[in-house]
Point group: C2
Chain length 467, copies 2
């Protein structure tokens, strides 16, 4: 089934044009004024068509913990997260659905889910997320979050030898898990890709990174990881390697045009050209970086150095939403306070390109996704410009990026299929989803995190904070 | 007509309680479990009741320019704003309606409108805004934006003598305008207050500040102004006074518990105790400060020094929305990156208090507004906790502040009157408003700002930026 979107506004180099856009199967097949109508005809008047955005870093199951963790830095926040992590594959399925729905309703058509695995049910976790993404019809990049070193390595260890948690898999078992997931689920043409995605240098051995590189070469998998989200991670990298984490990832061969790296807040000046030379992508998660006090990632410097930058929401417990338009707004204006020269600031049009083509580039799919181009995949979003939040009429992209649009996604197509029509998700029943989320949760009145209590004094000492 | 809100969740010191809340006339008259039903009965189950927030600084008519001004700093942005400013009182009326509706739908029940006056139609501008606020029923603090020095004084003048624009009123005529507005419209009990509100030290003479102090004493008016929003304003204050703008405002006698000051980004350490001692309020406008690259206001330092802080959206052309929940979210988490000690960070509960009681305190109305207290004015907001953006259930205030709630305001009362019921504005027709905003606007395809072009080279030179 194809579509003809008639008389729709699309951005041109400096301005806008009114055109018809035709979709056939999974592709954009024509963009021109007054095409002959074919397939389903959509009235595009008073609407803006853009390429779908990529939610380039999230952890879907954190949806169960959103709103509940107090404002504390990553290392303490992680302790609280682990204490309250969901433990049933059915919860994974529901939060993946919720993450996908919120992403779609805020302009995203792809999601990179750095998914936290339930100890002992790792394969079931991956299967539950894949099931959700297949049902909802978002383009999903499922990146199982793996590590093979103790949780305590998240802080500098200062010569001690923390014990491994019983539930962490060995390096070999971890790599086997990913290989199995690839064999079972990896099918990019059908919209599901498996990524190799070590947590980050602070919790992963060289053997794990090397195994991931092998798998990614064998199966053509994209690569993902966290990178230097916090000052503590920078300290730990120096302690572990004696030099920067970026240099070490380069030495291991993990960097490259298929590699996207979440956060990149605490890089040195010398690290930046390494990302540029290797064609690696930075995924900027502005709301998480603020919420956790991680810092201001030097995004303007990355862009000036030619590093590709994409946007992510990060998990719902560090945001605490999956609204991609909010991440794009804050992620593009936040850096204005870091450079008096406004010629370096990110314009709304640049922000749209980062969110779409930048996201596609981070997945080494810029030839397939990320722009309104004949022959590319039909991953598109049609915005209704008549909503109060986008009025009065001025510059549509300015309103969309700088404003706070709500309920403005009128249609969204993934792989040529309309997953949102008339403002509603077509593939899953959102009322049922809400009911399930309601039934399986309760108002947290008070909570205490034993793990946080166990590490807080050490954290404060490392960060040179009064006890 | 009164209301009984049954079985509703309200915050207690550390937790939540389920109670009934009774409103009569303009007041909260009872808060207790299982009250005898009186008046209209509202089912409060699965809902959260909070005091209404104060949108403590905005410029309503900027709604006409939202989305259209590129990312540039305040001084250049102002030039673009002036070039495209609305010029008809009917536009003022419509954008005041729009500002009120967006504020109400995001938890605000009061708005401080530092309203830009149409040259030559100053009185008509004020009248149009007052008409809108009376109709929509929000509690309005109308603060006509006045100045009596040339626009060029917005930048350091370095000994030159810029000419006065023909359309700027004299100091006396300006004060007469405010006196007339007070006589005609100032009626706090009915929900309309007039404030004295010089633009700021950079564009106002001492005589204007002194005249405003006299008026405020004569009529018990609240005081408002911008304060040190940008580095350029700090430079200009040093040039104009030879010392800090805060010291000068103290010397003039403008500070005090009825004075709220928007932005306060570029204060010195020594300025902070002056704000605390005088009981003045800082209005934090985080989205505007980011959008214009003004800087990170030292909000954590203000709070530690005992300075009251409230939140504002600022005008829609520097935000570009009037969603108060967004300003509260970003304004409370933004400062986590300025202090490694998370014990100083703003919790969701503290953010709610800043937005409600902090806003009321900034208007010297903490005895009347800003908390769920028997005897206080019934300015209340009832949030529907069953919306997807607030699920799954965890901590209601955490979800509301840290998440991205949309369409969650179920009821809002101002002065005991329900201005939102069942999620819809009861007082004005929002569909008609949208149609008017649509009819009176057009897609801006390209625009040039002559005024910006005229001052840009000077701006870059002052800021030591390459030409």
């Amino acid at each position: 089934m194809g579509y003809t979107i008639q008389s729709v506004l699309i951005p041109t180099e400096q301005s806008y044009a009114t055109v018809d856009v035709q979709l056939e199967d999974d592709r954009i097949v024509a963009i021109a004024p007054q095409l002959e109508a074919r397939g389903v005809v959509i009235d595009g008047r008073n609407k803006l068509l853009l390429p779908g955005f990529v939610n380039a870093h999230t952890h879907s199951s954190e949806m169960w913990q959103r709103g509940v963790i107090p404002p504390v830095p990553l290392e303490l926040w992680l302790a609280e997260l682990y204490d309250f992590t969901p433990l049933e594959p059915e919860q994974i399925y529901l939060s993946a659905l919720g993450t996908a729905v919120e992403t779609l309703l805020s302009g995203g058509t792809s999601v990179v889910d750095h998914i936290v695995l339930i100890p002992g049910q790792e394969a079931e976790t991956i299967a539950a997320a894949v099931r959700a993404y297949r049902e909802v019809g978002i383009r999903a990049f499922v990146a199982p979050l793996i590590q093979d070193e103790p949780f305590a390595y998240g802080l500098p260890i200062n010569g001690s030898s923390p014990a491994m948690e019983a539930q962490v898999l060995s390096t070999e078992a971890t790599l086997d898990l990913i290989r199995d997931a690839v064999n079972q689920f990896h099918n990019p043409d059908a919209g599901i890709s498996i990524l190799v995605a070590p947590t980050g240098t602070h919790l992963c051995s060289d053997a794990l990174f090397e195994g991931c590189i092998e798998l990614s070469e064998q199966y053509q998998l994209r690569r993902h990881a966290h990178l230097l989200e916090t000052k503590v991670q920078q300290l730990r990298a120096q302690e572990k390697y004696g030099y920067s984490a970026v240099t070490h990832l380069k030495y291991l061969g993990y960097l490259g045009p298929s590699t996207s790296l979440a956060h990149c807040v605490w890089l040195d000046e010398a690290d930046i050209p390494i990302l540029a030379e290797t064609g690696s992508t930075v995924v900027h998660n502005p709301l998480s970086n603020l919420r956790l006090g991680s810092g201001l990632a030097p995004i303007l410097k990355y862009r000036q150095a030619g590093v590709n930058v994409a946007f992510g929401c990060d998990g719902s417990a560090s945001n605490d939403s999956q609204d991609l338009l909010e991440a794009i707004k804050i992620g593009s204006m936040l850096h204005n306070v870091t450079d008096f020269d406004y010629r370096h600031w990110i314009s709304p049009r640049a922000a749209v390109e980062m969110a779409s083509l930048g996201g596609a580039t981070g997945l080494n799919l810029a030839d397939q996704l990320g722009s309104l181009t004949v022959g590319k995949k039909a991953d598109l979003v049609l915005y209704d410009l008549t909503h109060l939040s986008l009025l009065p009429r001025t510059d549509p992209i300015g309103l969309l990026v700088l404003g706070r649009p709500t309920q403005v996604v009128y249609y969204a197509w993934v792989n040529g299929k309309a997953v949102i029509a008339d403002g509603a998700v077509t593939t899953v029943n959102v009322a049922d989803l809400k009911q399930e989320l309601w039934n399986r949760s309760q108002w947290f009145i008070e909570h205490q995190s034993p793990l946080r209590a166990a590490i807080e004094a050490r954290y404060r000492s490392i960060m040179d904070l009064p006890l």
